[in-house]
């Protein structure tokens, strides 16, 4: 199937392999009249760019975004926006040794099983570079949300066993450490943990958390296109994500109804909740409280330690991976989580506009019949 297309009204189509010409995305259905420049996209791409700390791959990529269509006089026109990021620093020779080998934890075997052919260079389409398309599109969705007063904040909640407790959160710290953690001292602990991983030729995973504020209530479509269902798919579609939670998530499974229920209260006409165990979603729709999401990221599968595996001919092989790999991908995945969240919200916000008959009548009276 066409698995590289995402969304219903705000739709994106991504393409590109790690060692091909480049990576790209076409955004189709972005509303007309959104101010947009390449700088808007670059800001997002720079957050996932390699080479920003010693915990990321040494591959050198400027990851420069070119907008090829869909913008006129600085505004979106409602037509498809094509964005291209060329690959520069491909070293395909690095991958010669793993041409026929199925790396543990990677998609080499499953690609072969499905397609019978595989662009093995740098992981091909299953490379982390694939997320460039998501992030470039996510930058646009984010800008759209900003204009509606919606703000997304994503950060690293945990690296391996080092978890920042909610009580210590200081969002100002997120941009102050290269791990995007909301506390600098935990970030230092996490760095030490990663140093140890590197020394031991090992790798780490972690947890990314994402908070959305300013969401109007009622976004999401029951029963299958629920807001939480779509967010879960969005996050789980990111390579290496193995778990997704909304609000209290797995903790809610252990709670009592009396403590998990959030009491409603009101201030004037505005409805809110005294607590937010629900993570801002009730019945699959936003409830007006902040949306709280978490994604569990597995450790980077590429490690330098020798690993047992097999090759294409089913013969046992011992494999040591000495490419340019991140000992942890969590920090670079923060902006990917943010992007997938933004894409999902933009789409559902657009869809929601026709939920009521009086909105339709008002729209066509106001906008079109004058």
């Amino acid at each position: 199937m066409a698995g590289s297309i995402y969304g219903t009204l705000f739709q994106i189509s991504t393409w590109g392999e790690s060692h091909g010409y480049g990576i790209g995305v076409t955004i189709d259905g972005c509303p007309a009249g959104l101010p947009l420049t390449e700088a808007d996209i670059q800001t997002f791409l720079d957050r996932r760019k390699p080479g920003q700390s010693r915990f990321t791959t040494k591959r050198k990529e400027s990851d420069k975004a070119l907008i090829l269509s869909g913008i006129f006089d600085g505004y979106t026109t409602g037509t498809p926006i094509s964005i291209l990021v060329k690959n520069k620093d491909q070293r395909s020779r690095d991958y010669g040794t793993i041409l026929n080998t199925y790396r543990p934890g990677h998609a080499d075997y499953t690609f072969d099983a499905k397609y019978g052919i595989r662009d093995y260079r740098g992981g091909g389409r299953s490379s982390g570079r694939e997320t460039i398309g998501r992030v470039a599109a996510g930058a646009i969705a984010s800008k759209l949300l900003t204009q509606l007063g919606i703000r997304i904040t994503a950060y690293t909640k945990a690296i391996g066993p080092v978890t920042v407790p909610e009580s210590d959160y200081d969002y100002a710290c997120i941009s102050q450490n290269s791990l995007y953690m909301p506390d600098n001292s935990y970030a230092r602990q996490a760095s030490e943990y990663l140093e140890k991983c590197i020394t031991e030729q090992d790798s780490a995973g972690g947890i990314i958390e994402c908070i959305v504020t300013g969401m109007p209530a009622g976004i999401g479509e029951t029963v299958f296109e629920k807001l939480d269902a779509n967010l879960a798919k969005a996050l789980m579609s990111i390579g290496a994500v193995k778990g997704v939670e909304i609000g209290d998530g797995f903790q809610a499974a252990k709670a009592l109804g009396s403590s998990n229920n959030d009491a409603f209260c009101a201030s004037g006409d505005r409805v809110s909740k005294r607590t937010n165990h629900s993570g801002g979603i009730l019945g699959g729709m936003s409830d007006g409280s902040p949306i709280i999401l978490r994604a569990a990221i597995k450790p980077t599968p590429s490690i330098a330690q020798p690993q047992e595996t097999i090759d294409k001919s089913r013969s046992p092989v011992s494999l040591s991976i000495h490419g340019r790999h991140d000992p942890v991908i969590v920090p670079r995945a923060v902006v990917v989580v943010e992007s997938m969240t933004a894409l999902t919200l933009a789409d559902l916000l657009m869809i929601n506009m026709s939920a009521r008959m009086d909105s339709l009548i008002g729209f066509y009276r106001r906008e079109l019949h004058c």
Copy 2:
């Protein structure tokens, strides 16, 4: 949007409210030639039927499935299969007191926020009865999978704090206790916990686990229509699910790459893995190992304890819910998780058939050109 439609090739469309005429589902795109009777569907529905233990609602519903179309001489014909389950034991008067009240943990407020109108009787469309459509369709998807040698086993892994450790699993027990737990003594502990919840006018949540065996490798479509992404959406679309995990899930976030990676091995031409931390999915495609899924279910929000909330006019209200409610929905949700898993797998298995050119050529040579 049309949020009550699910799937791409194997597609279902559900309808119905708790206190309306009934609940239904139309399955569109089911392959022709699958033997199917109402008994196949009834077996599944009976597993979610109320009144099976003292931990489920006292509402009496026979939940009898009628097949209205799409079957001829005992086989599916490839045309839409419509299934109807009539409602019997509606007591709308029970809900009069909450007509204008926003129950904590429920979708009353979000429905009002979105649509401005709400069928408040028994929760309307956000009632647990909505899942009847999922389960009736899931029964068909399951039968399809069985014919391909694929088997799904779902069960209650935890009720509140009572968790069955993997080391104690005995699948034979699942059907022996009313909580569908894979161990009878943990089931007894869980029952005691639930008794206490009832006494304290409180409710519990839990965790459902689901294992799929017999899956061929390569199912799932990169990059957005990944198998795990679709399963996450499928499960998170079930009301009350707040978290989803694949394989080691959130535990993977704390692991090292060296321990989380599963070594490939081979026996003859058949590829397998020495461990299964990945939960049977790599790069968004099935890897041939058992698929392992978990869903966290929040405690039933309807509790008899008095709760603070507001009504439609934004005035504070104290609410005690004395309807017929399950103190825990986990056991009845087991078959719902199984059904959503089956629907998702059937769809992706059908989609996968055109992944390779040689399959297309073979198919049209064999099946049609003779």
Copy 3:
């Protein structure tokens, strides 16, 4: 695939065979707050009901619509609306002789070729009764359009060689003759032609025309989801339709640019065109002029004359069809064309609401943030 589902935001899912339990449709995504009763749907269904003139099948069907869900206190709630029409006058024994025979002009052979199994009773799913689902849903879409000031008028432009010229149109006549022609004297001519067809055990086709007024400009999505592209699909999906035209249609192919172009003019701020060769659509979007559509309907394939054909075992057979068949289906298809047009427009009108950034901003400021 799931071929019985139509639409993107305003989505319908139909089911049912000619001789099964009944025919049904689920409308998913209808905006909340539309007043709706069974009478609204019945009015539409009555226009396609058999037995209204001597040119329609003698099958007796009351075709009574039951609404099973989605309505509360007389209004749509935004949840799926399920509609059921039970079959009454099935005479399956009539079809015994054609159990294994491929009727010329029918779908018997293609159903067998695709599915290998076929509900032969009365044509099963390929029966004209399938359109009941379209019409029941179309009634709802039409009501929605009416509230936006959009009106659809469909009628029989031609029966066989008898064509009403545009100069003679009198829309008041449409409901005055059983052929739904916009001129009574042409209707009489057409009746005589049909009498001759009956006498000669033959059948006729014709042309249905459909005019939409009150459409705002800009509806339709370039480049593949154009308004005309979607209308063409909508109409061509009706059994027996073999051609579709917009505006001048095939006549435009012979015209010169200088005569085919419609000059724009303005009255105050309102833009219009001096002529309407375009049929109200330019660049795939409505241009504010009336939309003009035509569908060519082939003659009813069931005729009493003996016809050469084959049976399932590939043996030659001479076939005379003596069931209860319409000598012409055009009059009964008028409301089907109107319904498919309404469904397509409702969907595209909803989709169009998010075309501009300022609409999104306005909507979320007005409707939700107060």
Copy 4:
């Protein structure tokens, strides 16, 4: 909405304006293992390239296709195939005069009405150059079909009033005249007609016909995703198409059932029909006979004659268009019709693979479980 995406399993996403960086398309869902080179695509693009005869625009474009992804070692890999065609000969200054003017027969007004902003340079997204994406993708779909033994032949049936009668068809001629007509003497007549159009500063339309041979029976999904319904949408989505016919099309409306019905016959196990009024489609599925399609193309709206119109401020304007425009677009649209047909067939052929349970069982036993 995302209107620039087409297809369900074989899906394409196009982008690009007439005077932007270029035009592109991403093909997602193409089966792995199809041999593919840039030359395959170039052959198709060359057929729609400007400057091939005196009846096409004088704009000079090499329209060179670059494949940016999805191909490895000469074969498709199952991942998205991105194709880029850069624009070269843009002369935006040519369009300065029509910046604020609504050209009759063009999409200027409807784009403004919908989006409030418009890339007026060369028609932006509504330019004929948009079809480059369709043709590049169509080349791939065509190659896929060829491997299944399916062949598409498209040609100009009529230019203005000059129509080639079926009795005179000689397919060998199609590539011998610059109008792609299946008869050289009619092509000469048509050329003379076009010369007269040029002299009179006018333009012409015409009819394109398309024949598909080698189609297996049973392709297409009832009831909305019928083969003819999808082909009608495909063709009507091409700018300037105002009518679509299958088989006898509008002639069928005038025929009698006895003459319009095609008698089935058999030769061994193979079913065929004595005539083909149905155009190879019955009940929305291919019937094994050649598929016959026709599209009516309106005259090029850009003409040098002065035309009455208005500008953005609603003031009357007299407009003479002196850009580089084709007096007829029909010959260049032939390959576009062929491409849209190929894309539609490839998609429906892939979808059809899961129509039967025994196909699924066979596939997963053969291909995967060995």
